[in-house]
Amino acid sequence: MRANLGALILLFLVDFVTAVLLVLVVSEPVAPAALYLRVLFAVLLVLVLPGYAVFKALLPGEYDAITQAVYSVGLSPCIALIGGLLLHWTVGLYANHWIMLLGGITLVASLVAFVRVVLNHPFESDTDEDTSWEINWQQLVTFGMGIVVAAVAVNMAHSSAVAQDERVHFTQLWTYKSAGAVQIGVLNAEGQPMQYNILAFDDQRALIGSWEPLVEADDTWELEMSIPVSNDTETINVVLYRSDRPSEIYRQTRLWLRQPLTDDTPQRR
C-alpha cells in the first residue's frame, strides 16, 4: 500500500509538471526563473515523464527504482520519436503540437495508471522495494566534493575552448555584386580595433576608390559602390592593408563585372 501511495504521488507530480509546462510554453515567459523552470520541465516532459506514465499505465506493479528509471528514460525518446513521425504526417512538428502530443500522452497515461494503481490491478508484483536512498553526512560531503571537482573540470574546459576561439584572429574582406552595385565589406575578428587601408582598382590598375576605416573588434564595415560605366572595365580588384603593416597586402579580392559570351574554356588571366 505504501508503494502504491508513492506511485500516486509521483503520478500527481507528473501531471503537475505537464500542466505547468503547458502554461509556460503558452505564455512565453521572459523572466529568467520562468525560463529555467521551462527548460527543466520540458526536459522532463520529453525525456522522462511520458515513458514513466506509459510504463505505470501498462505495467503498474511495483518495480525497483532502476527498472522504473530504465523504462522512463528508455520509452520517453521512443514516444517522442513515433509521435514526431505522426506529427510530420499530420499537422507538423510545431512547439504547440509537441506540447499537446507529449502532454496529452503523459496526462492520459498517468490517468490510466492512477486508476489501475488505485484498483490494485492483477499484474502487481509481489516484491517489495529494497533500494534505500539514505546517505550519511560524511558520504554526502565526499560525494559533493566529487561533484564540485567535476564542475570545476567542465568550467576549465569550457573557458579553455572559448579562449582558444578568441586566439584565432582574422579579417574578412569581401566584394560581390548585388542589386546593380558592388558591395565591399570587412569583418574585423582580430580581437582589437583595427585601422585598415582599402584600395579599389580597375583592371588597368587605375585607382577607383580608397578608404581608411577604423573597425572595432567583431564589427563590420560595409560600402556600396556603383559599377563603373566604362565598357573597358572588366574587373574590380580590392586590396586591404593593415595600418600597422602598410607595405604588405593583407587581403585581396577580384570581381568580374561581366560574364563571357561563349562557353569556351576560360583562359588564364
Binding site: 525497483d64 525518446p77 512547439a95 507529449l102 566529487g146 571537482v149 560574364q259 588564364r268
Partner: protein, 631 residues
C-alpha cells in the same frame, strides 16, 4: 554473491531481501548500501579534472598533454573496475557505480568539445535537426549526409527538446545523447543480470562493454548510432523480459518491444542490420540449444519477421537511398579482403594513421595486447558458457556472436575495411563483454589473492586503454590547434565565419565545391548545397587536383551547376588526418604522402571570369558562376 532466480522473475527486480520487520537494522544499513560510491565519485572526478587539464594543455600545443589524458582516464576507469570485481558491493552500489562511470566518461567527450559540435558526423546531423526546426517537417534534403534525413530518430527527439525548452541544438543534443547512453548502460546491466544471474557478473560485463573502442567518443557523438544502439539494447532487454513473462504482461512487453524496434529502424540503418543479424542468430540458436521449446522459437520468429518487415518497409518506401550509401563501402571492403587473401594487394600497415603518422610504441603494444587478451579470454568464456549455461538460449547466442570478433580483425588489414572493423566493435562487444565476464568469473568463484586481483585489474585496464587506441586516432583524442581534415580539430572559427558569411550574404542552397571539412561547415552552418558523387553522380576532386581547368573539369562543374568554390589554403601545408582532402575517390585517398599542391587553389586566382569574392586569410571563396553559367 547476490543471485536472482532467473526462471521465476520476469523483471529485474530486487536481488537482496531485507525483511520489512527489520526496519531499524535496515535504516542502519542504508548508508552502507552506497558502499564506496562517494569515495569513487571523488576519485573519478579527479580523473575528469586531469582529462580537462590535458585538454587545456593540448589547446596550448603542449606535446605532453596525452600523459594526463591517459592518467585521467585510468583514474576514472580502474578504481570502479576494481570495485566491480569485488564481492562486497550491493546491487545498488554496482548500479550506482555504472551510473558514475556513465557520467564521468560522457564528461570526457563533453570536455573535448564544450562549446560546439566538432566531429564531422555531428555537423551532418546538426543540419538535419536544423532542417526539421526550420521546416517543421521531416525528410528535407541534406546534401552533406543525404541518408541522415531518412533516419531522423535522433533529430526528432532533439527538435522536440529544442522547441519546448528554447535550448539550441548543441545543448539539446548533449542532453539527448546523455540520456541515451544512460539507457544503454542501465539496460545492458539489467540484460546481463537477467541472463547471467548475478549483479556482480552483470556489473563486470557492463564495465567490459564500456571498454569497447567506440564507447568513449564515437558513441558519445551527436549521431544516429548513439541513440539507435541504446534503443537496440532496450529492445533486446524487453524481448528477454517478454520471454519470461506470462499473460497480460507478455502482450504489453510485446507492444513495447515493437515500439522500440520501430524506433531502432527509424533511427539508424547499420544498427538495424546488426539488430536483425542478432535476432537471426538468436533464432538459429533456438533450433540447436538443448532444452529449447518450439514456443520460444515461434515467438522469436515472429519478432524477427516483424523487425524484418518494418526494416524493409522503411528501406523501400522511405530510406531507399541507404542502398547507395552503404553498398559501395561494404563491397569495396569485401573486395579488398578478397584481394588481400589472394595476395593481389599489400595489407595496410596496422596503426599507421591516414595522415601517415605512427602512434608511440607503447600504444601499439597496448592495442595489440588488448586484442590478444580478448582473443585469449573468449575461448575460456565460451567454454564456461557451454559447460554451465548451454540451456540458456540468450547466453549461447551471445557466445556465438562473440565468435565473429576474431574474424573482423582481418578487415583491419585493408584501408576501407579498417573503418568497418572498428565500427563493428560496439555491436560485437555486446556479446564479447559478457563472454569475457564469464571468463573472469571462472577465477572469481574462489577467493582471490592480491596478485590475482592485480592481474585482472591490469587486464581490464588494458582492454579499456587498448580499445581507445584502436578506436580513435591520437590527434583526435584531445582538442587542440587546427589540423587538416581532423575530427575535432578542423571545425574552427575562421571556417565557421566563412560559412555564416555565405549564408548571410548569398542565402542558402548555393552549390558549393570544397574540401571534406569545409563542406561540413558550409553544409551545416552555411546551409549550402554540397554536390557529391552519391547524389549528383559527379566527383569534383579532379577540379582541385587539375593544374588548370580544362574542358573535362568545366564539364564536371557545369554538370553540378557549381556556384562557388571554397578554398582552404591550410590544406596545402598538412596531410589529412582522416585520409582524404575532398572525398574517398580522390588520388591517394587514405595514403597521402604529400600535402595538396598549392596550384590546386592558386589556379582560380588567375582564371578569366572567376571572381575571388571573399578572403579571410586561409579561407578564400571563388564565384564560379561566370564560367559555369556561360552559354
Amino acid at each position: 554473491m547476490q543471485t536472482i532466480h532467473k526462471n521465476s522473475i520476469p523483471f529485474p527486480q530486487r536481488t537482496e531481501s531485507i525483511p520489512r520487520s527489520h526496519e531499524t537494522s535496515r535504516r542502519a544499513a542504508a548508508p552502507a548500501r552506497w558502499g564506496r560510491l562517494p569515495e569513487l565519485t571523488l576519485i573519478s572526478s579527479l580523473g575528469v579534472l586531469l582529462v580537462s587539464f590535458a585538454g587545456v594543455q593540448s589547446r596550448l600545443a603542449a606535446d605532453w598533454a596525452a600523459l594526463p589524458l591517459w592518467i585521467g582516464l585510468l583514474v576514472i576507469f580502474v578504481p570502479i573496475a576494481v570495485r566491480m570485481l569485488s564481492d562486497q558491493p550491493s546491487r545498488q552500489e554496482r548500479i550506482s557505480l555504472l551510473v558514475l562511470m556513465w557520467g564521468m566518461l560522457y564528461l570526457v567527450k563533453i570536455l573535448h568539445s564544450p562549446v560546439r559540435f566538432t566531429f564531422g558526423d555531428e555537423l551532418q546531423h546538426w543540419r538535419t535537426a536544423e532542417d526539421i526546426l526550420l521546416t517543421n517537417r521531416l525528410f528535407s534534403f541534406n546534401s552533406i549526409l543525404p541518408v541522415s534525413s531518412f533516419y531522423p530518430g535522433l533529430e526528432i527527439v532533439t527538435s522536440a527538446l529544442v522547441k519546448l525548452t528554447g535550448l539550441d541544438i548543441f545543448e539539446a543534443g548533449i542532453l539527448v545523447i546523455g540520456v541515451a547512453r544512460l539507457v544503454l548502460v542501465l539496460t545492458l546491466f539489467l540484460l546481463y543480470e537477467m541472463v547471467g544471474g548475478t549483479a556482480r557478473l552483470a556489473g563486470m560485463a557492463t564495465i567490459l562493454y564500456i571498454a569497447n573502442p567506440m564507447f568513449l567518443f564515437f558513441d558519445a557523438q551527436y549521431a544516429y548510432e548513439s541513440l539507435a544502439l541504446p534503443f537496440a539494447t532496450f529492445a533486446l532487454f524487453l524481448i528477454v523480459c517478454r520471454e519470461r513473462a506470462k499473460g497480460g504482461k507478455f502482450w504489453v512487453l510485446t507492444l513495447l518491444a515493437a515500439a522500440i524496434i520501430v524506433s531502432v529502424v527509424v533511427t539508424h540503418h547499420v544498427t538495424t542490420i546488426m539488430f536483425l543479424g542478432f535476432l537471426m542468430l538468436w533464432l538459429l540458436a533456438s533450433f540447436v540449444v538443448k532444452g529449447r521449446s518450439w514456443a520460444t522459437t515461434g515467438r522469436l520468429t515472429l519478432i524477427f519477421l516483424f523487425s524484418l518487415a518494418v526494416s524493409l518497409v522503411w528501406l523501400l518506401f522511405v530510406a531507399y537511398i541507404t542502398i547507395d550509401y552503404l553498398g559501395p563501402t561494404v563491397m569495396s571492403a569485401l573486395s579488398q579482403v578478397v584481394q588481400l587473401i589472394k595476395g593481389e594487394t599489400v595489407g595496410r600497415e596496422l596503426y599507421r594513421s591516414f595522415g601517415g603518422t605512427l602512434p608511440p610504441m607503447w600504444e601499439r603494444v597496448a592495442g595489440n595486447g588488448a586484442m590478444v587478451l580478448i582473443l585469449l579470454g573468449l575461448p575460456v568464456g565460451i567454454f564456461r558458457v557451454m559447460r554451465h549455461h548451454r540451456a540458456n538460449l540468450f547466453m549461447v547466442t551471445l557466445a556465438l556472436g562473440a565468435l565473429v570478433y576474431p574474424v573482423t580483425h582481418v578487415l583491419r588489414f585493408t584501408s576501407i575495411g579498417v573503418g568497418i572493423a572498428v565500427r563493428l566493435q560496439e555491436f560485437l562487444f555486446l556479446a564479447v563483454a559478457l563472454v569475457l565476464a564469464m571468463a573472469i568469473e571462472t577465477w572469481l568463484s574462489r577467493r582471490l589473492r592480491w596478485w590475482q586481483v592485480l592481474m585482472m585489474t591490469l587486464g581490464m585496464a588494458l582492454i579499456f586503454v587498448g580499445g581507445i587506441i584502436l578506436g580513435w586516432s591520437p590527434s583526435e583524442r584531445l582538442p587542440g590547434q587546427y589540423q587538416t581534415s581532423s575530427h575535432g580539430r578542423s571545425v574552427e572559427p575562421q571556417s565557421i565565419a566563412a560559412a555564416e558569411w555565405m549564408r548571410e550574404k548569398h542565402g542558402s542552397d548555393n552549390r558549393v565545391g570544397t574540401d571534406y571539412f569545409n563542406r561540413l561547415m558550409m553544409g551545416s552552418f552555411g546551409r549550402q548545397y554540397i554536390p557529391s558523387y552519391m547524389v549528383d553522380g559527379v566527383s569534383l576532386w579532379s577540379v582541385f587536383y587539375a593544374t588548370e581547368i580544362g574542358p573535362a573539369e568545366l564539364r564536371r562543374m557545369r554538370q553540378v551547376e557549381l556556384d562557388y568554390i571554397v578554398a582552404d589554403e591550410r590544406l596545402t601545408t598538412g596531410l589529412p588526418v582522416n585520409g582524404v582532402y575532398f572525398e574517398y575517390g580522390e588520388p591517394n585517398a587514405r595514403a597521402h604522402i604529400a600535402p595538396l599542391p598549392p596550384i590546386s587553389y592558386a589556379k582560380f586566382n588567375v582564371m578569366e571570369y572567376v571572381s575571388r569574392i571573399f578572403d579571410s586569410g586561409d579561407v578564400i571563396i571563388f564565384d564560379m558562376q561566370g564560367v559555369v553559367d556561360a552559354r
